[in-house]
C-alpha cells in the first residue's frame, strides 16, 4: 500500500493510492492534482547519512568512512511532493541528493541486523539538498547546510515495507528539467539499511516515525532557480519539486 498525507478541502487527511487516484479515510476519491502533498510522515528524529555511497565519497574527494557519518535534521526543513525549495541569493552550489528514506515503525533499541527489517514501517524518497557554500568544518555538515527551511522535500508516498521485496536493490535517478543527471543503486551503500539500524539503535532508542535518509550516490549538480527536480526510486515513486528564488 502507498500512503500519503495531504491537505484537501480544508483539512489534513491520510490517503492511500487506489487506481491512480487517492482514497481518503472517509472513502472520498480525489485526483492527485486536487491535493496539496505533505510529508507522508511527520518526522520525529531524522538521521541523514553523509558519504554512504563509495562513488559519491570519491566524487567529493573523501575516503569512505569506517563508521557511519550521521547528522540530524530539524522538523523545519521538510516539505512534501510538488513543493518549492528556496535557493538563497548569491550561492554558487546548491545540489540535490536523491535518497532512499527509511521510516521506523516501532521502538528499536539494540536491534541486531538480522532483525532490523522488522522495525521498518516503510520507505519514501527524500531530496536532501545541500548548499555547499555554507559548509564549515564544525559538526560538518551543519544545520545551515542541511537543515534549512524547505530544503528537504520528502514523499510523495510512504510505501509499506512489505511491498518492497529488496530495498537494497533499487535504482535511484534524479532528473533536472527532464534530463537524467544522477543514477545509482542502493546496492552500493557502504552501510546498508540493517547496518544503519543496528548502529543507531546500539547507542540510542529509535522511535516510530523516526526517519533515516540513507545517503546519495554520485552525480550531483548545481540547481538553478526555476529548475524542476525529480528524485525517483524504483518501486517507491517520483518526488518532484521546484527551485525558487529566495526573496
Amino acid at each position: 500500500m502507498k500512503r500519503a498525507r495531504i491537505a484537501y478541502a480544508g483539512a489534513i487527511h491520510h490517503a492511500v493510492e487506489e487506481n491512480g487516484c487517492m482514497k481518503l479515510e472517509d472513502g472520498r476519491i480525489v485526483a492527485e492534482h486536487e491535493v496539496v502533498w505533505l510529508p507522508p510522515v511527520q518526522p520525529r528524529t531524522v538521521f541523514a547519512l553523509g558519504l554512504n555511497y563509495a562513488d559519491h565519497a570519491k566524487e567529493l574527494s573523501f575516503q569512505a568512512p569506517t563508521e557511519p557519518l550521521v547528522f540530524l535534521k530539524g522538523p523545519n526543513t521538510f516539505v512534501g511532493h510538488r513543493a518549492q525549495t528556496r535557493r538563497p541569493k548569491d550561492v554558487v552550489n546548491m545540489h540535490y541528493e536523491c535518497e532512499l528514506a527509511v521510516v521506523i515503525g516501532r521502538p528499536a533499541r539494540r536491534v541486531k541486523r538480522e532483525e532490523a527489517y522488522d522495525y521498518i514501517a516503510g520507505y519514501t524518497i527524500a531530496n536532501d539538498y545541500a548548499i555547499r557554500d555554507y559548509l564549515e568544518n564544525y559538526y560538518r555538515p551543519n544545520l545551515r547546510v542541511k537543515s534549512r527551511d524547505t530544503c528537504t522535500p520528502i514523499g510523495p508516498w510512504l510505501v509499506d515495507a512489505k511491498d518492497i521485496a529488496d530495498p537494497m536493490n533499487l535504482t535511484l535517478k534524479t532528473y533536472v528539467n527532464g534530463k537524467l543527471t544522477q543514477q545509482g543503486t542502493t546496492r552500493d551503500m557502504i552501510f546498508d539499511i540493517p547496518a544503519l539500524i543496528e548502529y543507531l539503535s546500539s547507542f540510542m532508542t529509535l522511535n516510530k516515525d523516526d526517519v533515516i535518509l540513507t545517503g546519495t550516490p554520485e552525480g550531483l549538480a548545481d540547481t538553478a532557480v526555476g529548475d524542476e527536480v525529480v528524485a525517483e526510486i524504483e518501486g517507491i515513486g517520483r518526488l518532484m519539486n521546484t527551485i525558487i528564488a529566495d526573496e
Binding site: 523545519n76 568544518n137 564544525y138 560538518r140 551543519n142 544545520l143 545551515r144
Partner: protein, 265 residues
C-alpha cells in the same frame, strides 16, 4: 526579585500549569501552598525540538587555541554551529541521567534554554525576544570528545542526555538574558561558574542568526551554548546546574544497567 511566574509540567500529567517559583528558597507555590522543588515529580517542561549551539561562549572558542586555524577546522566558525538533541534525550528534573556502559564519565553542559513562544522565521535581533516564551535550564550531557569536525551524535544523542527543567520562567520575568550567572555543582561542590554575559552571540543575536535559515516553532528550545571548562561527572554523582533568575536543575548519574523505564528500581 526572587519570585517569578513559571510554567510547569508534572510527571504523568499532560497539561501544563502556571505557578510561582521562589528562587531564593528553591520552592514553588501551587494554589496557595508551598513546596520544596525536590518534593515534586517533574516532567520536562518543553515539547518541541531542542537545538544546541557549539562554541558560543568566548572562552569556549578561545579554549581551542590555535587549533581552530589548523586542519580540519581551517578557521573560526562563521555561522552558528548547531546540533540537535533529539526526543530520546529529553528527561525531567530529578530523573536519573543514564551512564552508558561504554562511557566512564559524562561532560556536564550547563546551558540556558530559550523556549520559543511563537513561530520565528527571519526575525530581527531587535524583535527576537518577542518570540520567546521563556527560559529554562538544560543539561546538555555529552560523552567527552576532542574532535568537533563531525556531528557528535554518538556522544550527544544518547537516551536521557538532555535533562530540562524544572520549569520555564516566563520571558518578561527575565529582564536581561545576557547577564545571568551559570553555575554547576557536583555533589555539592561548585565546579564551574560563568555568565551569559560571555556569549559570543547574545540571545537576541543568536535567534536572529539561526532563524535566518531555519524556522524555530513555538515550543522549540534553543540552547545558548555551554561555557568552557565543562566539568565531568561519574556514576553516583549528583549534578546541579543553577542559572540566576531561572532556578536549579538537579539530576543524578546512574549506570544505565541499573535503570528500568528511566527510573532506578
Amino acid at each position: 526579585m526572587s519570585k517569578v511566574k513559571v510554567r510547569v509540567k508534572f510527571r504523568g500529567i499532560l497539561q501544563e500549569r502556571e505557578a510561582v517559583a521562589n528562587l531564593d528558597e528553591n520552592r514553588i507555590e501551587l494554589q496557595g501552598r508551598h513546596y520544596r522543588v525536590d518534593q515534586l515529580m517533574w516532567d520536562a517542561p518543553i515539547s518541541g525540538a531542542v537545538y544546541g549551539t557549539l562554541f558560543n561562549y568566548k572562552g569556549a572558542l578561545a579554549a581551542l587555541g590555535e587549533t581552530v586555524y589548523e586542519a580540519p577546522y581551517h578557521g573560526e566558525p562563521k555561522a552558528p554551529v548547531l546540533y540537535i538533541k533529539p526526543r530520546n534525550t529529553v528527561i525531567g528534573y530529578g530523573m536519573p541521567i543514564p551512564l552508558p556502559a561504554d562511557a566512564r564519565e559524562l561532560e556536564i553542559g550547563a546551558a540556558l534554554g530559550v523556549v520559543m513562544g511563537r513561530t520565528a522565521t527571519r526575525v530581527s535581533e531587535e524583535q527576537a525576544l518577542e518570540f520567546v516564551a521563556g527560559y529554562t535550564i538544560v543539561n546538555d550531557v555529552s560523552i567527552p570528545h576532542q574532535s568537533f569536525y563531525r556531528p557528535a551524535i554518538k556522544q550527544k544523542a544518547r537516551d536521557g542526555f538532555c535533562p530540562v527543567g524544572p520549569w520555564i520562567v516566563e520571558q518578561d520575568e527575565v529582564p536581561d538574558p545576557d547577564a545571568l550567572g551559570v553555575r554547576v555543582w557536583i555533589n555539592g561542590e561548585l565546579r564551574q561558574e560563568n555568565t551569559t554575559a560571555n556569549l559570543i552571540r547574545s540571545v537576541s543575536r543568536l535567534i536572529a542568526d539561526v532563524t535566518d535559515f531555519m524556522t524555530l516553532y513555538a515550543g522549540d528550545t534553543l540552547l545558548v551554548g555551554v561555557p568552557e571548562g565543562a566539568p565531568v561527572a561519574k556514576a553516583g554523582d549528583h549534578v546541579r546546574i543553577g542559572i540566576d533568575g531561572i532556578g536549579s536543575l538537579e539530576n543524578t548519574i546512574i549506570h544505565e544497567d541499573e535503570l528500568a523505564g528511566g527510573q532506578r528500581l
